[in-house]
């Protein structure tokens, strides 16, 4: 069972959750109040939903050995556009206004994704550079959209997206779960996942096998931007306002981290959507933990960094083997040093 690729991420998540019980005995308690579910676990899922979405898109981008740094900016732009549209409308609370805002925000997100996709897949710019452009410029665009102000909206239907409840659960959780499910069906029930892994694993061989990488790579940047757009709607809806400066700030780094924690290699190829979800939950749990155990705010990032390093080491088979050997000393033992199974080649 320890061989399963999701084993260690799951262990880490479980350990983090258990650690919280020490500080907050009723950490696992879930109450029903006014027909809504409440509890720390629900909060983690609820506030983690935007990160799960962004990380989901990031997973597919990373699978093609790319990276998308612009998702944070896309989050900000999508939220800003939606809020501006609603606040400027005659009837902010009408479903039509909200649907229009959603369509506008996601449409623009898709355009941003298309820009990334064209730059990477057609023009051949390195992904980190191509998306860095939008990462930097996008914040400025978000500021322009909101005129440098925080735009607040009062709209019940819009509030539903990030802050509302449906069937006792926060709507954001249900929506994120649906997207995860759909994405995994889309990649694993069609050949999309295989072709993406092939393109990411060996682009030259993939071309010679007749795979049209341009379209596939363009597609994942579109998907990543769309996910970021939805995340932007959730974030701005949850606080009923759009902050071009701070919405989605550094979410690209959290998303990349979530992907890596979930066991997908930054060099591309094999990816794991389940791993990414667990990775995103680890990061969100960590944020929650920081508050519940009362770590001073100025040292939160340092604390987070240590946990992340620890998690990465625990997941590394080479490190675990080393640690095991150290423990086995001074007896000579069986001289076993299992290397990463992925790096071995059998025979001549």
């Amino acid at each position: 069972m320890t061989k399963h690729r999701l084993f260690w991420p799951a262990v880490v998540l479980a350990a983090l959750l258990l650690a919280n019980v020490v500080f907050t005995p009723d950490f696992f308690a879930i109450r029903i109040k006014d027909g809504h579910l409440y509890g720390s676990l629900i909060d983690i899922l609820h506030f983690g939903a935007p990160l799960i979405l962004v990380a989901l898109g990031m997973t597919l981008v990373i699978a093609t050995s790319g990276i998308d740094l612009s998702v944070g900016s896309t989050v900000a732009i999508a939220g800003a556009l939606a809020c501006l549209h609603i606040s400027g409308a005659a009837d902010p609370a009408s479903p039509a206004t909200v649907l229009g805002a959603v369509a506008l925000a996601l449409g623009v997100a898709l355009v941003l994704g298309a820009v990334n996709g064209v730059l990477v897949a057609r023009v051949g710019v390195q992904p980190i550079i191509a998306t860095l452009i939008l990462m930097v410029a996008g914040r400025g665009v978000a500021q322009l959209v909101t005129d440098g102000q925080i735009v607040t909206v009062t709209s019940e239907p819009y509030k539903l997206i990030g802050g509302g409840y449906w069937l006792t659960m926060p709507f954001a959780i249900l929506f994120a779960a649906a997207v995860v499910l759909l994405t995994s069906l889309l990649t694993r029930r069609t050949a999309l996942g295989l072709l993406l892994e092939s393109v990411g694993g060996n682009p030259v061989a993939s071309r010679l096998a007749g795979i049209r990488a341009t379209g596939l790579i363009g597609l994942v940047y579109l998907f990543s931007a769309l996910c970021a757009g939805v995340a932007g709607l959730m974030i701005s809806s949850n606080v009923s306002s759009a902050d071009g400066n701070n919405a989605g700030l550094w979410i690209e780094l959290d998303a990349i981290l979530a992907v890596v924690l979930g066991g997908t290699s930054l060099t591309g190829g094999r990816f794991s959507l389940g791993g990414t979800v667990i990775g995103a939950l680890i990061i969100q749990t960590l944020s929650t933990t920081v508050y519940t155990i009362g770590i001073p705010p100025e040292t939160t990032l340092v604390f987070k960094a240590f946990v992340v390093i620890a998690v990465c080491l625990i997941q590394s088979p080479a490190f675990r083997a080393k640690a095991a050997r150290r423990r086995a000393r001074p007896g000579r033992g069986t001289a076993s040093r299992p290397l990463t199974p992925e790096n071995t080649e059998v025979g001549a």
């Binding site: 029930r189 069609t190 050949a191 999309l192 295989l194 072709l195 892994e197 092939s198 694993g201 060996n202 030259v204 061989a205 993939s206 071309r207 010679l208 096998a209 007749g210 795979i211 049209r212 596939l216 190829g269 094999r270 069986t334 001289a335 076993s336 040093r337 290397l339 199974p341 992925e342 071995t344 080649e345 059998v346 025979g347 001549a348």
Partner: protein
């Protein structure tokens, strides 16, 4: 084991064991290497040769056994430590940094220093001296990738030799060298041997083994079959011991097809004045249905480049291609695939397989790519296809979920072949399909090619081994200096010597 002149082995291995998930690669291997000997390590693909070398050089940690160096047991924990202990290795695939200069590659990790900084002029001077001592005409400040694979390999050897090696391990050093380069290499090896260096030599070229080696150890299925002085075994005996007496794969292929049985068949593909500037000069070539056309020529003669144009792997700059009399354009491999053309690259690792995907996934890749991602092959279909081809090509291990990078070279080649055969191609281009693979797998692949042609598939067969080209081809195109200089019908009178003469003179003889 036969007694050896009273010399102490410089390197000894006792009961080495190495396991990979699902495979025992080495099972109690004993091995010894004497100073001043060139020692051959023989065995089929998957017999454990590469694994043993990697254990000896610290790339893999063994799961059991002991290594004794100069009479003292050692624990080799990594390539660097192996190097310091005096064991240097040159691998089958050149493991240098192609974007660094030749000089930097030779001294990487042990650069001459002055005041803690790299002493660049000293580094270049020393590199130039080393290269000159091997009579190589190489500019040491040029990036390594501006040279052919053959030169890169020699640079790797220069580097290994200079690490003051007591033990030099060469894994398939000659598979990408032409005859002159092999001679040059052997001169160097003999000099090193006379200086008392122990050389471990792995090669699939039996003639070379008999030319350069003093002793050999034969591995079979991860065990030692025996150790022999080179004169003790005939080549036939050696082969029999390597494959364990099953000579079935080696049956004579001659007479499988008439010399030019397909002369009146309709042409499937016709290249007219096809060229790519800087890669290959304009050439005409016709390939008929059911015909095997061989391409012969030295390394860098344009064999591969000519074939790549027919697959759309590179774009042609002039000329045209007709498929069944219709002019077609082949801007991408995808276009060529749609016309039923398949291409197995000579560089399996970087241009063929996706290492981190499974055997099954690699086999269905081209077929799936042709269908598009919206029309997936069901998992049951994939399993069925993979299992059928694993069985019929005898891929080992036979688990379709093994990662392709965990397979040996010959088995990887079979997976690549299977990938294209399931697309049911009309023209199969094989670029060095038997390079670096063992004699058993080689015979199997040759047999398969002959059978496929008999069933009506056209084959373009590229190989550096003239015997192999002759055995399979109906016609042989000869390339020299990026030009197709002759097309020789294989009418029974064609011999490797005549092809060599054509390559040498540039005109049919």
């Amino acid at each position: 084991m036969p007694a050896h002149p009273a010399r102490q082995p410089v390197l000894e291995a006792h009961a080495i064991r190495k396991e990979f998930p699902g495979v025992v690669a080495l099972d109690g291997v004993d091995f010894r290497l004497f100073p001043g000997d060139v020692h051959a390590l023989m065995g089929e693909n998957g017999a454990g040769k590469s694994t043993l070398i990697k254990v000896l050089t610290g790339v893999y940690a063994s799961d059991g056994g002991e290594i004794v160096l100069n009479g003292r047991p050692v624990r080799i924990t990594g390539p660097l430590q192996a190097q310091r202990a005096g064991i240097s290795t040159v691998y089958q695939e050149v493991n240098l940094c192609p974007n660094l200069s030749v000089a930097e590659n030779i001294f990487i990790g042990r650069e001459p220093r002055r005041l803690g900084l790299v002493h660049w002029s000293e580094l270049r001077t020393r590199a130039a001296r080393l290269v000159a001592s091997l009579d190589l005409d190489v500019d040491v400040s040029a990036p390594l990738n501006s040279y052919s694979i053959a030169i890169q390999q020699l640079v790797a050897i220069v580097r290994a030799v200079d690490v003051s090696a007591k033990v030099l391990i060469l894994d398939e050093p000659t598979s990408s060298l032409d005859r002159d380069e092999v001679r040059q290499l052997f001169t160097v090896l003999r000099r090193l041997r006379d200086q008392g260096v122990a050389i471990l030599f792995v090669s699939h070229f039996l003639e070379q083994i008999y030319e350069i080696c003093d002793r050999m150890t034969i591995l079979r299925d991860g065990r030692v079959e025996g150790e022999y002085a080179i004169g003790e075994l005939s080549q036939a005996d050696l082969v029999a011991r390597m494959i364990g007496g099953e000579l079935a794969g080696l049956e004579d292929l001659s007479g499988r097809h008439g010399p030019h049985a397909e002369a009146d068949a309709a042409p499937f593909l016709r290249a007219e004045g096809l060229a790519r500037s800087g890669a290959v000069e304009p050439y005409d070539l016709t390939i008929r249905a059911g015909e095997v056309v061989g391409l012969a020529g030295l390394l860098g003669s344009g064999r591969t480049e000519a074939a790549r144009l027919l697959f759309g792997a590179d774009r042609s700059t002039e000329g045209s291609v007709r498929i069944e009399d219709a002019v077609v354009t082949l801007p991408t491999p995808r276009a060529a695939i749609s016309y039923g053309i398949a291409f197995c690259s000579e560089d399996r690792k970087t241009e063929g397989l996706v290492g981190e995907l499974t055997v099954r996934e690699n086999i269905v890749l081209a077929l799936q790519a042709a269908r598009g991602w919206l029309r997936p092959l069901s998992r049951a279909r994939q399993d069925e296809i993979a299992l059928r081809w694993i069985r019929s090509l005898d891929v080992r291990p036979d688990d379709p979920e093994t990662l392709v990078r965990n397979l040996s070279g010959g088995n990887q080649q079979k997976v690549l072949l299977a990938r294209w055969l399931i697309t049911d191609p009309r023209l199969l281009i094989l670029d060095e399909p038997t390079r670096g693979i063992d004699i058993g797998a080689k015979a199997e692949i040759q047999k398969l090619v002959a059978e496929l042609a008999q069933d009506g598939m056209s084959v373009l067969f590229i190989s550096a081994e003239l015997e192999e080209v002759l055995r399979l081809s109906h016609r042989v195109g000869v390339l020299r200096d990026r030009r197709l200089v002759a097309e020789l019908p294989n009418d029974g009178s064609l011999t490797p010597e005549r092809i060599m003469a054509t390559i040498a003179s540039g005109a049919p003889s």
